[in-house]
């Protein structure tokens, strides 16, 4: 496993508890009451998309569904709104994982941006069918901040998997 498929660095295997831990931290970060301040990224969506791209066999739609239900309760929104959006996000991220990982980080972020925007669009359409008001164009800013955070998030979430750089002359890798 490499950070990107074109990289020559080999990573350690990921630990399951670390994936669970980061998803829970993201959930707690989403609980911080910023109110209607625009541009606050959806941390759960960011971390979920990251693990779906990097570990599509471990994290997928089931995780998205459970996290979405948790967010629906925490957000006091309609049940199923986040669940639906996160399931679609997980499907897109896991499906595109093999393509996305061939690109350098900046272009990976460009691949993730439409996924985040689509997720927000799904949420908006479901709520507006239910008769809610339009939240304003600035609400979509959070997708762009999440995209900007893709680069730092990659390094942060891959830290436990990086090996030390010291070379061992007896081992080729």
């Amino acid at each position: 496993m490499q950070p990107t498929h074109s990289s020559r660095r080999i990573l350690r295997p990921v630990r399951n508890w670390f994936i669970l831990f980061t998803l829970l931290v993201a959930l707690v970060a989403n609980l911080v009451p910023f109110g209607r301040l625009p541009g606050i990224p959806d941390w759960v969506a960011l971390v979920l998309a990251f693990w779906c791209v990097h570990q599509p066999l471990k994290v997928g739609m089931a995780a998205g569904f459970v996290l979405g239900l948790a967010m629906d309760v925490a957000d006091a929104s309609v049940m199923g709104q986040h669940a639906l959006a996160y399931v679609l996000l997980a499907f897109a991220a896991a499906g595109w994982s093999r393509r996305v990982l061939w690109f350098p980080l900046a272009q990976q972020a460009l691949h993730v941006l439409p996924m985040f925007l689509g997720m927000q669009l799904v949420m908006m359409v479901t709520r507006m069918i239910g008769g809610a008001e339009f939240p304003g164009v600035l609400w979509f800013l959070s997708s762009f901040t999440a995209t900007l955070l893709w680069h730092p998030a990659t390094y942060l979430l891959l830290i436990p998997q990086f090996r030390p750089e010291d070379k061992d002359v007896h081992r080729p890798i």
Binding site: M1, R12, P13, V28, A29, N30, L31, V32, P33, F34, G35, R36, L57, G60, M61, A62, G64, F65, G68, L69, A70, V73, A74, D75, A76, S77, V78, M79, G80, Q81, A83, L84, V87, L88, F91, A94, G95, M124, T126, R127, M128, G130, G131, A132, E133, F134, P135, G136, W139
Partner: protein, 306 residues
Amino acid sequence: MSVVGHAPPPFFKRGPAPLVRLAFFVSLSLVLLVADLRFQTLEWVRLAVATAAWPLQRATGMPIDAAGDFGAYLSRQATLLKENEDLRRRQLGTANLLLRQDHLERENKRLRALLDMRERQPVEGRIAEILYAARDPFSRRVIIDKGSQQGIAAGQAVVDDIGVIGQVTRVFPLTSEVLLLTDKEQAIPVEVQRNGLRAVLAGAGSGMMELRFLAANAEVQVGDILVTSGLDGVYLPGLPVARVVKIDRDSSHSFARITCAPLAGVERHGLALVLGGRTALPPQPDDAPVTPDQPTRGKRVKKKVR
């Protein structure tokens, strides 16, 4: 785990195909959406989870609270002195009314007894602090720090020092959720203070409200103050609600489009007063006997005028 530390990917046992899984989860979410939007059947799940998550929620709010406190600590003394002065002046201004309130109330009671009218209900309030605005960007709700443990019940009106803010819609044990007047789903019966014209005021999104179903020639002016009419049995009559800011009398529509701005600091945060529930109003009289559906002259609508 193999020797190198990487488990080989499962080649054959992959479970259902991604599209099948997607269809399953999407349909499950859609069922939940319909169950919640149409039938409102999932309130107990929400109540249980929200109660369990309450300490966590308060803990995550702490950095924001601390930032606010720090900002207040740095606010200059001059501002505080000025605010203090203003408050003292306002208190003196209302002292006249407050001192005579007791006397007037007793007089009112006696007069009402003389006139053989029902007594006005005494209403007690409970001061609550607005903790934060709910994260949901599609509705306008705030969370206050009093819940069913403190005797809050769904349906109670919430006011601040200027006028009505909204109504309690969900009650948790230690917090409750207030739907603001500016939310699209909130409607409140009002009357124009100047002439007593009754109407329904509903949220219009983006912080404004709309006076609905008034004829294009209704007697409303820009600057009119709207107060609660008390017809719904929820709000006490006479609480200030909004001011008319714009009237659009388009003759092509049968109703005037009247935009109003809330008087109270609906989107501001601070302290609020939760008013006690009113006792139920007497039941409505039975409807007049319905005549069988038969088109009459007045009912028929024909467009002749261009």
